[in-house]
């Protein structure tokens, strides 16, 4: 087993809203080794981004971390002081957002924004000269496959195309991600050809730099060729964890099985099946298995309490009481 980088255990995140308490994350676990590429899939609203925000500690003000630990290199991210947290964000981990347009400050040139990050992330021991910072910024843009980096640095975000903006965001996160890069659906707001390009480039970059990656997506195709380990998330819980090949050849959890059936195939076979029902309301959710209301094989006992993650060998874990019979 490779060296451990990030170990999220039993994470519970609730949100206090007018109507009551939204119990969004309920016992999320996540394990990322050094230089490991991990994917998380699940439908919209299942808590993928919330999990990542918890790891980065940028949850909204009304969020309550009700339980669990986020061990990053042995220390709990949820407990570290502000100074340590800032150092961690500057030098170790970073995140790429879904929408690159929103992730760039509209009133500053790309260069001003990127150089600010470079100044604090790349030069720890000494105060860099302007030239050093500029050179480093150009290097970063080049590694994100941007042509004419000098010109990009002098442009405002609105002067760039969507694909260019996302590459700028990647360059920015590379400055501060020396160990862990979280990519939150990096291609979703782009068109499919650009998405494909960006994903290939991103894979190349993280392999070259030896980064650990958490790739979030609701598109199974996008993650399949990218990651070595996959987590399937449903309604704020991790329902299945398995190496990518294992998950595709031997899905165990009923949700995963249905999710894979829902993928349209090029080879025909008619319209793919959907999953009946929708994610239950986080406000009224019970203690039982969160998938029970949509599960074909659910039994009485599923409603009583939540299933723990059962280890079924080969690094395959599944949170279902009836994993043997399905």
């Amino acid at each position: 087993m490779a060296e451990q980088l990030l170990d999220v255990k039993d994470l519970h995140v609730y949100f206090k809203v007018y109507e009551g308490l939204l119990k969004v994350l309920n016992g999320v676990f996540l394990n990322v080794g050094a230089k490991e590429k991990v994917g998380i899939i699940g439908e919209s609203g299942c808590g993928k981004t919330t999990t990542m925000k918890a790891i980065m500690r940028i949850l909204a003000a009304n969020a309550i971390v009700a339980g669990g630990t986020i061990a990053y290199r042995g220390s709990d991210v949820l407990q570290v002081g502000m100074q340590d947290l800032m150092r961690l964000r500057r030098t170790s981990m970073s995140m790429i957002f879904q929408d690159p347009t929103a992730a760039l400050n509209p009133v500053f040139k790309v260069g001003e924004q990127l150089e600010d990050i470079v100044r604090y992330s790349e030069f720890i021991s000494h105060t860099p000269t302007k030239q050093e910072v500029r050179t480093k910024a150009v290097d970063l843009l080049k590694s994100a496959a941007l042509p004419e980096p000098e010109r990009i640095l002098d442009s405002y975000p609105f002067q760039l195309s969507g694909g260019m903006r996302q590459r700028v965001c990647i360059a920015m996160s590379l400055a501060s991600a020396k160990d862990l890069l979280i990519a939150d659906e990096p291609g979703t707001s782009l068109d499919v050809t650009i998405e494909d390009q960006i994903m290939r480039e991103l894979k190349q970059i993280v392999e070259d730099r030896g980064l650990s990656v958490i790739l979030i997506s609701h598109s199974i195709g996008a993650v399949k060729g990218f990651v070595t380990k996959l987590y399937v998330m449903y309604a704020g819980t991790m329902v299945e964890e398995a190496p990518t090949d294992e998950l595709f050849s031997n899905p165990v959890h009923p949700y995963t099985q249905n999710l894979l059936k829902a993928v349209p195939k090029l080879t025909g076979g008619g319209v793919p099946e959907g999953i009946a029902g929708r994610i239950p309301s986080y406000l009224t959710i019970g203690d039982g298995c969160r998938f029970a209301s949509r599960c074909m094989s659910a039994k009485e006992s599923c409603q009583a309490h939540a299933p723990p993650a059962f280890d079924i060998g080969n690094g395959h874990r599944v949170a279902c009481f009836h994993y043997g019979d399905i």
Partner: protein
């Protein structure tokens, strides 16, 4: 090729085009510039500079407008036009001093309260602002001035005290929504300090509305200042404040209408100028609708 599509620096021609889209904003700019020039060079431009202060010339008192005194003379024989020109100085000084006190204070409080939205800082700052906003502005200024000795300086302080909450409210509403923008979160996860986020990420995105409000407010501050002087709680005679002049002349209405009317028109001119200018500034920062 460089710069064919990507321009460097602000495009002043385009900014001017947006500003001057409405020709009234050019009028406003002209009026404000004219008033500013008159105020600065009043001692050189006024026909009778000595009439601004202690000056008595009873033989020429109460003269209606004529070629020697275009706007007539008041009860002491002072030239109304000269006094109006000096009066602009006090009006503009009022606006400049009040706004330069109020804007930094109000903006910083609003930014901090917005950044820590939902926290104790937010609570304390915004409830204080609410308390100040709950009292009608003129009433508050009047009561403060009446406690203190009436003077130009005290009037400025009183107006400043009632004015900051408007900037705090304005900036608070913008910054508390920008707080949750992705680019602010992106800065946070890059390890930016709260100071950097407040002043480098959020503040630059609030500048448009702040500048618009400053230009629109200048006129209102002048009006409040003149109102305080009118009721005798601001500038004291013989200071040629426009409000004081209107109030002095009011004793001689309606026969000697020129003593009050021309200073009153001067107030109207200044406020109108700043309001038209403010409209232009707002157009300048408005999102482009092509």
């Amino acid at each position: 090729m460089k710069g064919a599509v990507f321009r460097k620096g602000p495009d002043y021609g385009k900014s001017w085009h947006k500003f001057s889209n409405n020709y009234l904003s050019q009028v406003g700019l002209g009026v404000v510039a004219l008033v500013a020039v008159i105020a600065i060079f009043a001692p050189y431009m006024a026909p009778y500079p000595s009439n601004a202060g202690f000056f008595v010339n009873y033989p020429e008192a109460h003269e209606p407008p004529n070629w020697i005194h275009i706007f007539g003379t008041d009860q002491f024989g002072r030239d109304v036009l000269s006094r109006i020109m000096f009066g602009f100085r006090y009006s503009l000084m009022m606006a400049v001093v009040v706004l330069s006190l109020v804007v930094p204070l109000g903006v910083v409080l609003g930014l901090v309260a917005g950044y820590y939205r939902g926290g104790k800082v937010d609570m304390v700052v915004m409830r204080c602002a609410d308390i100040f906003l709950a009292v009608p502005p003129l009433v508050l200024a009047l009561s403060i001035c009446s406690v203190l000795t009436p003077s130009v300086f005290n009037a400025m302080m009183a107006v400043s005290l009632m004015w900051w909450p408007w900037y705090t409210r304005l900036v608070y509403s913008i910054s508390s929504s920008l707080r949750n923008e992705a680019f602010v979160q992106a800065a946070e996860i890059a390890g930016a300090s709260p100071f950097h986020i407040i002043f480098r990420e959020i503040l630059p995105n609030c500048l448009g509305p702040i500048l618009t409000k400053i230009t629109l407010d200048a006129g209102w501050v002048i009006l409040i200042g003149a109102s305080l002087s009118f009721v005798g709680l601001g500038a004291q005679p013989p200071i040629p404040d426009l409000g004081t002049m209107v109030s002095d002349g009011a004793n001689f209405l309606p026969e000697q209408w020129w003593v009050s009317l021309f200073p009153a028109l001067a107030i109207v001119l200044v406020i109108l100028g700043f309001n038209l200018l403010g409209d232009g500034v707002r157009d300048l920062f408005a999102a482009e609708t092509v």
